[in-house]
């Protein structure tokens, strides 16, 4: 067991003793032990909750811009912004991020399918502008949640 201890910890498992001092009665020690158990339980509960939340989470963190399949930029969904994406051959698409959602406000492509697409915010959602070979997709900092493919 000792072999597995991080090096930063003092020998003889003394990090609690260092923190709380040497001179303690049995009751104090029991209290501390109970506190520690409580802390561990809380920590585990928190971790489990976080895990559960991550698995359930579908809202993304970023709008990722790919031009002809190559990522050129990513914008955090929690910061409102407006940016003109310039694609090969002079194509422009105005990407707006507002209230945690991304959408194309205007574009100079002929079909305007991208501008007609609803705002996206969930992992796996995409807006595609075929004429400009542009993909805007929602990604998260973790891989959990959302759909694998939108069609």
């Amino acid at each position: 067991m000792r072999g597995a201890l991080p090096h930063a910890l003092p020998e003889n498992g003394g990090f609690l003793r260092v923190r709380f001092g040497e001179e303690m009665g049995t009751n104090d020690r029991k209290k501390i032990r109970n506190d520690v158990i409580l802390a561990v339980v809380l920590l585990l509960l928190a971790a489990a909750a976080m895990l559960f939340w991550q698995l359930q989470k579908t809202e993304g963190d970023f709008a990722v811009v790919l031009i002809d399949g190559v990522e050129t930029a990513r914008y955090a969904l929690d910061t409102d912004t407006e940016v003109e994406i310039i694609t090969d051959g002079g194509g422009t698409n105005t990407l707006v991020i507002r209230d945690g959602e991304a959408f194309v406000e205007t574009a100079n492509c002929p079909d305007l399918v991208c501008a007609g697409h609803r705002a996206i915010s969930r992992v796996g959602e995409t807006i595609v502008c075929l004429p400009h070979k542009l993909v805007i997709k929602i990604a998260a900092s973790t891989d959990a949640g959302g759909v694998d493919m939108a069609a």
């Binding site: 579908t58 002809d68 007609g116 796996g124 997709k137 973790t142 759909v147 493919m149 069609a151």
Partner: protein, 354 residues
């Protein structure tokens, strides 16, 4: 006592660490890639691989195959030294010629004949003369919305006289194609994407590759599972005005296909009305019965062909076709936004928690 405390702490930290890194427990990472060079649409590849290099290798194999199918099946481009469907459609001195073709073309055209029979002519690859008129007016209308016009019905009717698939003469012994009607043109747009995707998927599976899902313009095909779990696929809401509902269905699938035909992807506007690309062989106009139809089955070629046919059929007729075809399920979205399902479709759906 102290040792026990320590042990508890360490255990807790270890557990926490393993929870945080739980996504990586299998060692595979999820990658994605997008391509724009095939079938005039976007190709999406999502896959699980041990490394980016491994994923890139699989993508190279996929794109090389897609490139080949695209070149063979396109009617819009010719390539030096290659007989493709553009060559088959060519007219020389007022007649088509007998064209020697690759087995991949022969197999597609044979499949096209089969599908035409199965769908009662709703999915007909011999409709090129009609579809080319729509294509021309749609392209013109997209680039000049103010001058957008509908094709004259006279021209459509005249073209529709030359859509008899029995005039497509296939010689499987010599691998030649001949269009006996000089005015006839092939257009495999309703089946080629699904067919190509299916062929690529089968090739990957034969090479022992799994953990990938492809999407070529709404033709989704899963090869294997998503790292042990089924893939989750969201079917986009065809009502683009509806901002609350991005997907009308969430599907779980492995080693299967789901193909969606919709009125909302390829269209142009004339006098404020949407005219999309799925043309009814009877009315010669875009089908107006549904906003979208999705077909769930094993084979994306069949899915592609059926989704077009169902889009143009009355619901009862389409439902009967689905229920009488093995391992096929479907979902119809009516113009009202209401969904109808075949008997087994809902079994594949799931709910995505917010």
């Amino acid at each position: 006592m102290n040792k026990k405390r320590l042990a508890a702490w360490i255990l807790a930290l270890c557990l926490l660490g393993s929870l945080v890194s739980c996504q990586k427990q299998s060692g595979k990472t999820k990658y994605s890639a997008y391509y724009f060079d095939y079938f005039d649409t976007v190709t999406t590849v999502v896959g699980y691989a041990d490394s980016k290099e491994e994923f890139d290798r699989v993508c190279e194999s996929i794109t090389a195959q897609m490139e080949e199918y695209h070149r063979l099946y396109t009617i819009y481009n010719r390539y030096a030294g290659l007989n493709n469907l553009h060559t088959v459609n060519d007219v020389d001195d007022g007649a088509h010629t007998v064209v020697q073709v690759d087995a991949k073309i022969m197999d597609l055209l044979l499949y096209g004949k089969e599908i035409c029979t199965l769908t009662g002519g709703k999915t007909n690859i011999a409709m090129g003369s009609v579809l080319s008129i729509w294509h021309e007016y749609r392209e013109a209308g997209m680039y000049d919305p103010a001058g957008a016009e509908l094709p004259p019905m006279d021209a459509l009717r005249a073209a529709a006289e030359h859509t008899d698939i029995t005039q497509m003469i296939l010689d499987t012994e010599n691998n030649t194609v001949f269009l006996a009607d000089p005015e006839m043109r092939l257009d495999v747009g309703a089946i080629a994407k699904g067919y190509a995707v299916e062929m690529v998927a089968q090739q990957l599976a034969a090479e022992g590759i799994g953990g990938y899902i492809l999407n070529v313009g709404g033709n989704v095909r899963a090869i294997g599972s998503a790292n042990g779990d089924p893939w989750s696929v969201g079917i986009e809401n065809p009502d683009t005005e509806d901002t609350e509902t991005p997907y009308i269905a969430y599907l779980h699938l492995s080693d299967a296909a789901v193909v969606t035909s919709g009125s909302y992807q390829r269209y142009y506007m004339v006098d404020g009305k949407n005219y999309h690309h799925i043309i009814d062989p009877e009315t010669l106009m875009p089908g107006e019965k549904y906003l979208a139809v999705s077909v769930l089955c094993k084979d994306s070629a069949l899915g592609d062909a059926l989704s077009t046919a169902l889009f143009l059929m009355d619901f009862e007729e389409g439902l009967a076709l689905v229920e009488s075809t093995a391992d096929v399920e479907a979902m119809w979205t009516l113009p009202s936004g209401e969904q109808k399902y075949s008997s087994g479709f809902v079994a594949y759906t799931f709910t995505l928690e917010k």
